[in-house]
Symmetry: C2
Subunit: 425 residues, 2 copies
């Protein structure tokens, strides 16, 4: 379905929901949505915990929040209304859920639904956009992009990615300064594990920390490549011998030749279960066993996607812009589209927001281009740098209180009175 | 030995060395040293890789660096001249090493030695301060405090600690916002592992992220307490049932009733070795096994002590101040002292720098006061907050380049020509 213009609905409310893993800037998108809608006199409800809130009729009335509280969302990480991992089945497989959504939308006069998430959420948004024709309810649905994984199709980049990319590049740089100064008598190999189960976008961003083979990161391990133990160990050894130390950035999704995640291929937890989320300790043990080097490893986990204190200004601005555009598209009567980021220039970096059809985005996955990885598979190319560098540009430090902590916003999240019986989903 | 005033040496050079684990602000101390010495017309040499550089006659001439390069040290993490873990034996046990130091000092007319480190380094500094009497060489030695562990005696706090404290509090806050928004369908228990093998200062600082039992961190595990599995699991369960999720901050040094580090008590790496540096995965496995909750854990490792981009301004200022004071003490003819931080007021926070005798500091360890921990052992008291809160106050963001990365300094580190034969240590 291509962008589909209908006459704007004259009245009604707008429902906004956050979906999937949150980011440092998803609330900036919420701010963009709410501020744009307020400017048009449209009331915004938010679903508590994503689509679950819509199914459960757990709605939040954002009109109860002050302008200052909404503005603070621009610099507050996490999902202000709660998010969830829940994928709607197809209309054929679970018609009852769609009927329930229509009931909730109808009960609260919801005529616009904005769903803020990744691939799965784009699919959900597409299904809901089709409810108008399928079930006779007049609803316009707009997908709003968000994912640290940067794997949405069509859009040049995904809000949320630029900030985790910046976190990863800065962390790689800072930890490497530490390792470099201690390497003579202490740690020689440092391993930073980053998110990215299927695509190495975040790992690639670590490459921005340095240039040239002597600068960190010396080795990046991507899920796109099969882990080659011999080549890895040879490069670690050569780097330590030449530079004195070695920084490795490993994507959590690195797999061995058998297709197993390295993180699951070795380590057992205290109960004998395969231990998840730890490719770094597996690599560290390998380095110690085969090369004898002292190692340290870090696994920042959620810290990398929630570190709003070191967010990319570019990313924060784009996150706000897609929220604002989504409202504009909705109120203009568009349906089944997503505001995407189109790059018009690398240097100076320029971008604009445009609508793209949801059916070109749902259930697709943007892979990292093959020419982003160096021939040996352990680094990023100039093409990758051209793409990645603008996304981490600019600082957007949150205001801090006198207590030394960022002043993150907290909403009242006032519930909208329920009008329907409970729904068993 | 108490502070010992002698007439200032009329000529000579000053040697500065960094020792032990580095911090986000140890280079601010270096800047304080070099700028203060330059102001007095005294040349500063730096030892490459700490005391090893002094033994090996690997000296760096800091007069080859521009004023801008030295100033940039104020916002650059890591150890600019290299650091090391190397403890001098006693004069009786290894007279040759001391004789070598005298040879190097003498060859380069070094009359002041400033050693920037923790407990062990204070001990080394004390020994060197005694060389004047023991071996007839006129040298004044000043210890300069530095350690993220905050365990130096006499000083109210240690440069380096305030920044890791701030990192820990902010990370706890940010990751908790993430967990809170996803808890309905995803992670219910998040565990952040922090440094602190023998004392829980860093873990305690996480407590600044929130107040009241519903705010994170809900549980802090200190090395000061024996791990009580039943009490821990009961509190995790009660917290998840009441709040919906639970943030745990665990010191790497948590031990079980048998005195073993929890990190070593269970997990084996891919080669069957006990895996170090991972109390978080052990706790996570326990939570999963006994309570069934979905978990995530993070282990920031070096990131916590190198995150200069989110340093405490208070800490950065104190780090500079102790460096400056150390030079003033040295040039005033003092010996065997350390500039320490004395707190004169909690609120508003006020502090000053004073000299303290090294023999009151060397080989001692400041424990966390018992009244800093709550009765159940899982939190911090108002007394702890009064102490900790000022240390994370103020931001000291480094300048960033147009590439989105902090502009960290890089020195030329020009070697001083050697004058002596090599030394086998």
């Amino acid at each position: 379905m291509s962008p589909n213009r209908r006459p704007p609905a004259p009245t009604g409310n707008l429902l906004y929901a956050q979906s999937g893993g949150v980011t440092a800037v998803i609330n900036a998108t919420a701010a963009g949505v709410i501020e744009a809608a307020r400017g048009q006199g449209v009331k915004v409800y938010a679903a508590r915990n994503g689509i679950l809130g819509a199914l459960r009729e757990e709605l939040i009335d954002t009109s109860k929040e002050s302008a200052a509280a909404i503005s603070a969302l621009r610099h507050t990480p996490g999902g202000a209304f709660g998010s969830c991992r829940y994928k709607l089945k197809s209309l054929e497989d679970n018609r009852a859920e769609y009927a329930r959504l229509i009931d909730v939308f109808s009960a609260h006069d919801i005529r616009w639904f904005l769903y803020n998430g990744g691939n799965d959420s784009a699919d959900t948004a597409l299904k809901i956009s089709q409810l108008g024709e399928a079930m006779g309810y007049d609803i316009r649905c707009i997908g709003v992009p968000k994912t640290v994984d940067n794997d949405l199709a069509v859009t040049d980049c995904c809000p949320g990615f630029g900030s985790v990319a910046k976190y990863t590049a800065i962390s790689t740089l800072e930890a490497s300064l530490d390792v470099a100064s201690m390497a003579e008598t202490s740690t020689k190999v440092f391993i930073l594990e980053v998110m990215g189960r299927h695509a190495g976008w975040i790992a690639a961003a670590a490459g921005l920390a340095g240039e040239g083979e002597d600068e960190p990161p010396h080795i990046i391990l991507f899920p796109e490549n099969t882990f080659d133990e011999a080549a890895f160990l040879a490069k670690v050894k050569a780097t330590v011998e030449r530079v004195g130390w070695c920084t490795v950035v490993a994507s959590e999704g690195v797999r061995n030749a058998a297709g197993q995640f390295l993180a699951e291929a070795g380590t057992r937890d205290a109960f004998g279960h395969a231990q998840l989320g730890g490719v770094a300790p597996v690599l560290a043990a390998l380095v110690k066993e085969k090369l004898g080097y002292k190692y340290h490893w870090a696994l920042p986990d959620y810290l990398q996607r929630s570190a709003r204190n070191m967010a990319s200004k570019t990313d924060a601005n784009q996150a706000y812009a897609v929220g604002k555009a989504a409202v504009e598209y909705a109120l203009a009567g568009m349906n089944a589209v997503m505001p995407v980021i189109t790059r018009t220039s690398d240097a100076p970096y320029r971008w604009k927001i445009e609508p793209a059809a949801l059916d070109q985005i749902a259930n697709r996955e943007k892979k990292m281009p093959a020419d982003f990885l160096t021939l040996d598979g352990f680094g990023i190319t100039a093409a990758a740098r051209r793409y990645l560098a603008p996304l981490i540009q600019g600082e957007a430090h949150p205001p801090h209180g006198r207590n030394g902590l960022p002043k993150y916003g907290r909403l009242k999240n006032t519930a909208v009175a329920k009008k329907l019986p409970a729904f068993k989903h």
